[in-house]
C-alpha cells in the first residue's frame, strides 16, 4: 500500500514536469518553427480541444458519438457568420459560438440520450447529417457547398507588429485552448466528473446510489457541445473559411479515432491522438500519396496492440517490466476500468 502511494506520487510529479515542459515548448514554438509547421501545430492545438470535448462523452461517460462534428461545424458557422456579416470581434463571436453549441445540445440531447451504445452512435450520426443537409440547402445563409470564405484571423493587439500574423494567431489559439482545457480539467476532476466515470462503468449502480444519471448525461452532452463548438469556432478562424466539410461525419469519425488512438477516458490522450493523426496526415503525405493506407494501418494496429490508447503506453510498459507480462489483459477488461480505478486511487491520495 505504502509503495503504491509512492508510485502514484512520483508518477504525478513526473507528469507535472512533463506538463511544464510541454507548456514551455508550446510557448517558444513560434520562435523555432517556420510558418507552415506552426500552422500544423495550431491545427493540432485546436483539434486537441475538439477531441477532448468528444472524449468527455466517449471516454468519460461511455457515450460513443459519431456526430460530434455537428458542434464543431455549428461553432464554425457561428463564428464565420458573425465575423463576416456582423464584423463582430473574436471574443463575442466565440462566446456566441459556444452558446450556439450549447443550444444545439440542449435541443438534441433529450432525443439522442434516449439511446446508448451503438444506437447512440447512429443517432448522433444522423443528427450531424441533418445539419449537413440544412447547411447544404440554405445557400443564402451558409453559402451551401461553397461555404463562407474570408473569416479574418483574430490577433492579440499587444503582439501585433511585434510578431508575424501566424504567430500572433497561434498565441490567440493557445490562450483560448489553455483556458478551455483548464476548465475541462476542473470538470473531470470534480465529483461530477467521477459520476461520469461511474455511469460509464455501471449506470444502474450509480442510479441506485441516488445520482440523477439522466441529468448528468444531459449536462455532459451540453458541455461537450459547448467545448466542441469553441474548437469549431477557432478552426473557422484558422482556416479563414467554413464549409460543410467541417460538419461532415468524416470529421466526427476522425475525431473519434483520435480519441481511441490517444486513449479514451484519459485526460491527455486526445492530445496524443490528434497529434499523431494530424502529423501522419501532413508529414506522411509529403513523401507518399498513400498516407490514407498508412493511417488505416495505424488505426488497425492501435486496436490490436494498444487497445487502451497511447496515453496508457507508459503504464503498460511499467506493468510489463514489473511482472514480465501485461497486467490488465485488454481482451477481458474494458480499457475504461483502469482509468476509473486510477482516478479514484489518486483522489484518495490527495
Amino acid at each position: 500500500m505504502h509503495r503504491k502511494g509512492l508510485d502514484v506520487r512520483s508518477a504525478r510529479s513526473s507528469r507535472l514536469l512533463l506538463l511544464a515542459v510541454a507548456v514551455i515548448a508550446l510557448l517558444v514554438a513560434p520562435a523555432v518553427l517556420p510558418d507552415y509547421p506552426l500552422s500544423v501545430l495550431t491545427e493540432i492545438v485546436i483539434f486537441s480541444l475538439f477531441v477532448m470535448s468528444l472524449n468527455l462523452l466517449v471516454g468519460y461517460t461511455g457515450l460513443p458519438s459519431l456526430g460530434h462534428s455537428a458542434f464543431f461545424g455549428t461553432g464554425g458557422y457561428a463564428v464565420a457568420l458573425l465575423a463576416i456579416r456582423a464584423h463582430l470581434s473574436a471574443i463575442p463571436a466565440l462566446i456566441v459560438a459556444v452558446l450556439a453549441g450549447i443550444a444545439l445540445a440542449l435541443i438534441t440531447g433529450p432525443f439522442v440520450l434516449r439511446t446508448s451504445g451503438a444506437y447512440f452512435l447512429i443517432l448522433t450520426l444522423s443528427l450531424t447529417q441533418v445539419l449537413f443537409g440544412i447547411v447544404w440547402l440554405w445557400r443564402g445563409m451558409t453559402g451551401g457547398d461553397d461555404g463562407l470564405p474570408g473569416v479574418p484571423r483574430p490577433q492579440l493587439p499587444f503582439l501585433s507588429g511585434v510578431v508575424g500574423s501566424w504567430t500572433n494567431f497561434y498565441y490567440v489559439v493557445l490562450l483560448v485552448v489553455a483556458i478551455a482545457v483548464a476548465t475541462l480539467w476542473w470538470v473531470v476532476r470534480s465529483s461530477f466528473g467521477l459520476t461520469l466515470v461511474g455511469i460509464r462503468e455501471n449506470e444502474r449502480i450509480v442510479e441506485g446510489l441516488g445520482y440523477p444519471t439522466w441529468w448528468t448525461k444531459y449536462i455532459v452532452y451540453i458541455l461537450a457541445g459547448g467545448y466542441g463548438a469553441l474548437a469549431g469556432g477557432l478552426f473557422a478562424y484558422f482556416k479563414g473559411y467554413v464549409g460543410p466539410g467541417q460538419l461532415s461525419w468524416l470529421t466526427a469519425g476522425e475525431a473519434l479515432v483520435m480519441v481511441i488512438l490517444g486513449g479514451a477516458g484519459t485526460f491527455w490522450g486526445p492530445v496524443l491522438g490528434a497529434t499523431v493523426v494530424l502529423l501522419l496526415r501532413y508529414e506522411v503525405s509529403s513523401f507518399t500519396q498513400r498516407w490514407e493506407t498508412i493511417l488505416g494501418l495505424v488505426f488497425i494496429l492501435a486496436v490490436l496492440f494498444l487497445p487502451e490508447g497511447l496515453a496508457r503506453l507508459p503504464d503498460r510498459i511499467r506493468d510489463i517490466r514489473a511482472k514480465g507480462r501485461p497486467a490488465a489483459a485488454p481482451a477481458e477488461q474494458p480499457a475504461a476500468e483502469a482509468v476509473g480505478s486510477t482516478a479514484i486511487a489518486e483522489r484518495s491520495e490527495q
Binding site: 452512435l121 444522423s126 461525419w249 498513400r290 490514407e292
Partner: protein, 285 residues
Amino acid sequence: MPINAASVVIGLSYASLLFLISVGLSVVFGLMRFVNLATGALYLVGGYVAWSVANRTDNFWLALPAGALVALVIGVVIERGFLDRLLGKELMQVSLTLGVAYIVADVTRWIWGGDPLRVRAPEALRGSTRIFGSVVPTYRLALIVIGAILAIVVWYLLERTRWGAYVRAGVDDMEMLECLGVNGRRIFSVVFALGALLCGLGGALGTPVTGVSPGIDSQMLLMALIVVVLGGLGSVLGAIVASGVVGMVDNMVRTFWPEASFFVVWVLVALVLIVRPQGLFGRAV
C-alpha cells in the same frame, strides 16, 4: 405526371441495392452489436472488381460472383482476424472498421484511379422496356427482380429454416442460445460472411446503374445505416421495408427537389427515431 411507373421502377431498383448492402449490417448488428463501418468499402470493392472482370472477360455474369467473392474474402478476414477482440466494444469496432475502410478506399483509388467507372449492362438487359405506359431501362427492372428474389431467399433462410431460427434466437438473446448448446460464434461467422457477400454483390450489380468511384463507399455506408436504423437493427423484414421506403423517398425527392435528396432521408430517420428509437421493426432498445 409526378409519380409514374418509371420513377417507381427507379426507386425500387435503388431499393434492391440498398437491401443488399444493409441486410448483412442489420443482422450482424442484431446478433453481436457489431457496427461494421467497412460496409461501404465492401460495396466499393465489389463494384471495382466487377468492373475489371467485366472489362477483361466481357462477361457480366462472371463479374457478379467475382465482385461478391472478393468482398466475401475481405469480410472473412475482418471476422476471423479481429472480431473476437472487438465484441462489445463499439469504439474498437469503429476504429478497426474505419481503418479497413480507409485502406480499401485508398488502395482501390491506387489501382483503379479516381475517375468514375461504369460497366455496361449485359447484352440481354440493355435498352428499355415499356411498362404501364412509361419507358424504363430494362436493367433497372432486372435489378428489382434480382433484389426481390434475394430478399425472399434471405427471408426464407432466416424465417423458415432451423439455422435461421438460431440466428433470430441469437438476435434476441445470444447467451440463452449458447446455453442451449448452439455455437453462436459460428452462426455469427456465417452471417457476417454472407452479409459481406451480399454487399459485394450489391456493388457489382450497382455498377451499371450508379457507376463506381471514390466516395461511393461512404455514400452507400450512410444509406445502409439509414436503412438499418429505420428498419430496426437485426430485423430482415425491417431491412426489406426500409430499403423500399428509403429508395422510393430518395428517388422522389431527387425528382422534385434534387438538392435536398440527401437531407430528406435523414430527416425521415431522425423523425422515426425520435418516435421509435428502435426503428420500425426493431425490438425495444
